[in-house]
């Protein structure tokens, strides 16, 4: 992976102009939004379904957009050297850009259907990026796990958003947030809430769905820094913050979010200090931070809203910086294992400055912004409306553990002496400019925003408008670096840092025993549940497949025939009773073609050659095309002719691969097949006759015929329907065809080794049942 042979800055950093220009665009909006204006752009998309392509920018959206484009700029620069030399670097930047636009879509979308579309796009780009090194089994597994967890959550979210839209009778978020009372008195409120929470919790890695996030560290480090700490995992938090005015500010919301968020915060912090991989330490502390954010949104008092928004920014700044550093260390030394690292302060001085600023902010030490964030968190818990001491205790213990994790990240690789008995694979060298720029810029941002936290620009305009969006009404926000009142809060901060350093002091001694213990506990953990579920589904699918698709083509056909007969046969038999047969007015050429069809059928039944049977079927197909012609459907006839031709070609190609024509059927089977065939034929005949007796509703047909030229400028109604009136169907059908082509390709390429040889006819079921057997055995 991060081959430490590349020292340069790479060639792709100029691409950072894309996120940078977006960032500059969003900065121009700060003034407008800060004064209460919310710019809205809207295009009609599917007006019939109330789906619009609309974006609005309020304080919350703008804060997120600035983080996404700002951190994105630094990540684009950083990845230039991190990914240098990777043969797929262009693909990497393409997916990264795709992700960034999707993520901006999530936070800016005003229509909830649009929000969902972008939400899913972020899951897909995350899947592609986690599995970027797709030849590694580890990456494949982690990518699939992230996709399945966030994807199932996405399904829940879709249902939840639809219910929300129905309850609010509006599909625009800018309206929904003012309809809180109406939504919460609706019977749909509870199901909508549960489904939306499932969506948000899976995306933002809340317990019990947290396990995918540490595994997502299989992604290249720029991805971990960008998607899995600063932006994408915050989508769930964003959604909760966005919907807080509509769904929240009641008891269910309070208890669910505080309990799940609080527990996730504790769990993440608890697991973070026990790790030896730098990226995993950071991943678990991200889980912890996401828990804290959910916890704060649930607390729902004025301080909690301030804390949530400030901590959101704090975490994006320091965690983005730390992940970039972990990648730089990996690049420089060839390892991220803290047991092999030490003394990097001299070797990587600029990286050290970045880490120093980031971990100081993480630990909540003044004058960095992290300090302000932590003070507000404590203030919020002290002022919480239950006033429970457990709420405060949760926050304090979580922060102690996070301080411990931060201390490990700063002290072990940079300040401690290099362990002599366990050196890293490479002698460390300084990181190139593109690799230390990001951490330093983010760290400096945390420092400056901490120093000037009280300024009107930061406190009232930027943060104030975001906090107002979260609260659902304008908030008076005045942030301070130095506490105004010396109550219990600064004392808690002191205790936190002191005990956090104590965690650092003992972490190495307790790490190994804790990991053994965790191994035992995790047997009952949610990740094992995930694997159990996955295995169960595969087992069930295997059984069903073995039952329905046993390798005998004739069994498939019989299954289809029986289903058809069962579903339709009874209906058409009943439908026939009491109906008079229509008089037959056959024209002579119709009779001739009909006879040809019957003759061809008889020929197929008795022929001993496959090729003969295929040609017989072709004759039937062409004859049916004649019938289309007779009844004035030249389009259908033409299509039928072409399809028949191609089917014969496909048949001929496949025939080569089949064993010789064998007579595997005995008399009993033949009788059985005859009965099935007769039943199906009879059903079909009766169905057609019934259909003729039912009066046709011509309204739609007449509408199409009348409007085809007026609306769609076409005289060929069939084609107008295909490409215009029902163009969406065609669009999806073509896509399905494309996927089918890929499937056929994969099947042929993947199974060819196991297919029976033309010269060695053998039992097909055996081949499919034991397809894991090595082909050499035959």
């Amino acid at each position: 992976m991060s081959g430490s042979t590349h020292h340069g800055n790479g060639r792709h950093w100029p691409l950072a102009i894309i996120p940078l220009s977006l960032f500059l665009f969003f900065t121009t909006l700060i003034g407008r939004v800060g004064h209460g204006d919310t710019p809205l752009w809207s295009w009609a998309w599917v007006p019939q379904l109330n789906i619009t392509f609309s974006f609005h920018v309020d304080g919350l959206a703008l804060l997120m957009a600035l983080i996404i484009s700002g951190v994105g700029t630094l990540i684009f620069i950083y990845a230039s050297s991190y990914m240098a030399g990777d043969p797929q670097i262009n693909r990497f930047y393409a997916i990264l850009t795709f992700f960034m636009l999707a993520m901006l879509g999530v936070v800016l979308a005003d229509n909830i259907v649009l929000l969902f579309v972008f939400w899913e796009l972020t899951s897909i780009s995350s899947y592609l990026l986690i599995g970027f090194k797709h030849e590694k089994a580890d990456s494949q597994r982690s990518a699939l796990q992230a996709l399945l967890v966030t994807g199932s959550g996405g399904m829940c979210l879709m249902a939840g958003l639809v219910l929300l839209g129905l309850a609010a009778d509006s599909w625009q978020l800018s309206e929904i947030i003012y309809l809180g009372e109406q939504i919460q008195s609706s019977a749909l409120y509870l199901p909508a809430l549960i489904l939306v929470l499932l969506g948000a919790f899976t995306k933002s890695a809340q317990f019990p769905f947290h396990f995918w996030l540490p595994n997502a560290m299989a992604a290249p480090t720029p991805v971990s820094a960008y998607l899995h700490s600063a932006t994408m995992v915050k989508a769930g938090v964003y959604l909760l913050a966005r919907l807080n005015p509509a769904l929240g500010q009641n008891d269910i919301w309070f208890y669910t979010l505080v309990i799940f968020g609080g527990f996730t915060g504790l769990l993440g912090g608890w697991l973070a200090w026990q790790q030896v991989d730098l990226k995993r330490i950071m991943a678990y502390s991200t889980v912890s931070a996401l828990g804290v954010l959910v916890f704060l949104i649930g607390l729902g008092n004025a301080y909690a809203y301030e804390a949530a928004m400030v901590f959101l920014l704090v975490h994006s700044l320091y965690k983005g910086a730390l992940f970039m550093t972990a990648g730089a260390i990996d690049h420089s030394t060839g390892t991220r294992d803290i047991r092999q690292l030490g003394g990097l302060m001299r070797a990587m001085p600029y990286t050290f400055v970045g880490v120093l600023l980031a971990t100081t902010s993480m630990a909540g030490v003044p004058p960095l912004l992290g300090f302000v964030g932590k003070e507000l968190i404590y203030k919020a818990t002290v002022e919480s409306y239950t006033g429970s001491v457990y709420v405060t205790l949760t926050a304090v213990v979580t922060n102690i553990l996070v301080v411990g994790a931060g201390a490990i990240i700063l002290f072990v690789p940079f300040l401690k002496k290099q362990p002599a008995d366990n050196p890293p694979p490479h002698h460390p060298h300084p990181a190139p400019l593109t690799m230390w720029l990001g951490p330093i810029v983010l760290g400096t941002a945390a420092l400056l925003s901490g120093l000037f936290v009280g300024s009107e620009f930061f406190s009232e305009i930027l943060m104030g408008s975001a906090i107002s969006s979260l609260a659902g009404q304008p908030q008076e926000v005045h942030l301070h670096l130095i506490p105004l009142v010396w109550d219990i809060v600064p004392l808690l901060s002191l205790i936190t840092v002191a005990l956090g350093l104590a965690v650092y002091a003992v972490h190495a001694r307790f790490r190994d025993p804790m990991q053994t213990l965790n191994g035992r506990v995790s047997r009952f953990g949610p990740e094992n549940g995930y694997f159990g579920l996955l295995d169960g589904i595969l087992w069930f699918a295997g059984r069903v497949t073995r039952l329905l698709q046993n390798g005998y083509l004739r069994n498939y056909i019989m299954m289809i025939a029986f289903t058809f007969f069962g579903l339709v046969g009874g209906y058409s038999l009943i439908g026939r009773i009491g109906l008079h047969p229509s008089p037959l007015n056959l024209r002579p050429y119709e009779l001739i073609v009909g006879l040809i069809i019957i003759l061809a059928t008889l020929f197929i039944l008795q022929t001993g050659s496959r090729l003969g049977a295929v040609i017989g079927l072709g004759v039937i197909g062409y004859s049916i095309a004649y019938f289309y012609l007779f009844f004035g459907a030249p389009d259908l006839a033409m299509t039928q002719f072409s399809v028949e031709t191609l089917t014969v070609i496909l048949f001929v190609l496949v025939l080569f691969r089949l064993p010789r024509f064998l007579s595997l059927t005995d008399t009993v089977t033949k009788v059985r097949d005859g009965i099935v065939a007769t039943a199906v034929g009879l059903t079909m005949t009766l169905l057609v006759l019934t259909d003729l007796d039912v009066p046709t509703n011509l309204e739609i047909a007449n509408y199409y015929a009348a409007e085809a030229y007026k609306l769609a400028h076409g005289r060929n109604v069939v084609n107008v329907i295909l490409v215009d009136f029902r163009g969406l169907d065609t669009l999806v059908e073509v896509t399905v065809l494309a996927v089918a082509a890929l499937g056929v390709y994969a099947l042929i390429k993947a199974t060819r080794r196991y297919l029976p040889h033309p010269s060695h006819p053998s039992h097909p079921t055996e081949q499919f049942d034991e397809d894991t057997r090595t082909p050499e055995k035959r």
């Binding site: 191609l646 400028h713 076409g714 033309p758």
Partner: protein, 147 residues
């Protein structure tokens, strides 16, 4: 591959004719029987003929593009014809757009549905040829394996 002089000679004449016929079907589709789907089937038949007469490699060379590229181009054309209206004309997704006044013989009025139909043509052609070529190559390899 079939080593027949008659077949090969016939294919030399049939191939361009079939392709022209496919183009004809594609362009007239909006007014008269035809359309992208049928046209793509006729074009696929043309390439299948070449495949039978001269082998898969030759048919692939004649196509120049990989079938997957055709599928991709086709899907892009289909989606972009649907996106033209919302992107440039402030109209809902998939609204048909027409160059009124410009009337070309045989094609009729130019509009986004023609682009849509061309997309369908390319995508379906790609799908059919991808399947046929893959199958033919599998048969060929197995044949060699037998010898």
């Amino acid at each position: 591959m079939i080593q027949s002089l008659i077949l090969r000679t016939a294919i030399r004449y049939l191939f361009p004719l079939l392709l022209l016929f496919a183009l004809f079907l594609l362009l007239r589709g909006h007014y008269l029987p035809g359309g992208g789907f049928v046209a793509s089937l006729v074009a696929s038949a043309a390439f299948a003929l070449v495949m039978f007469g001269f082998g898969v490699e030759h048919a692939r060379e004649l196509l120049r593009l990989h079938p997957l590229e055709l599928i991709g181009t086709g899907l892009i054309a289909v989606v972009s014809s649907a996106l033209l209206a919302p992107l440039f004309f402030q109209k809902p997704f998939m609204t048909g757009l027409w160059l009124d006044g410009l009337h070309i013989p045989a094609i009729g009025t130019l509009g986004s549905p023609l682009l849509f139909d061309i997309g369908v043509f390319l995508a379906v052609l790609g799908v059919v040829l991808h399947i046929i070529f893959t199958l033919a190559e599998a048969v060929q390899e197995e044949g060699e394996f037998n010898e």
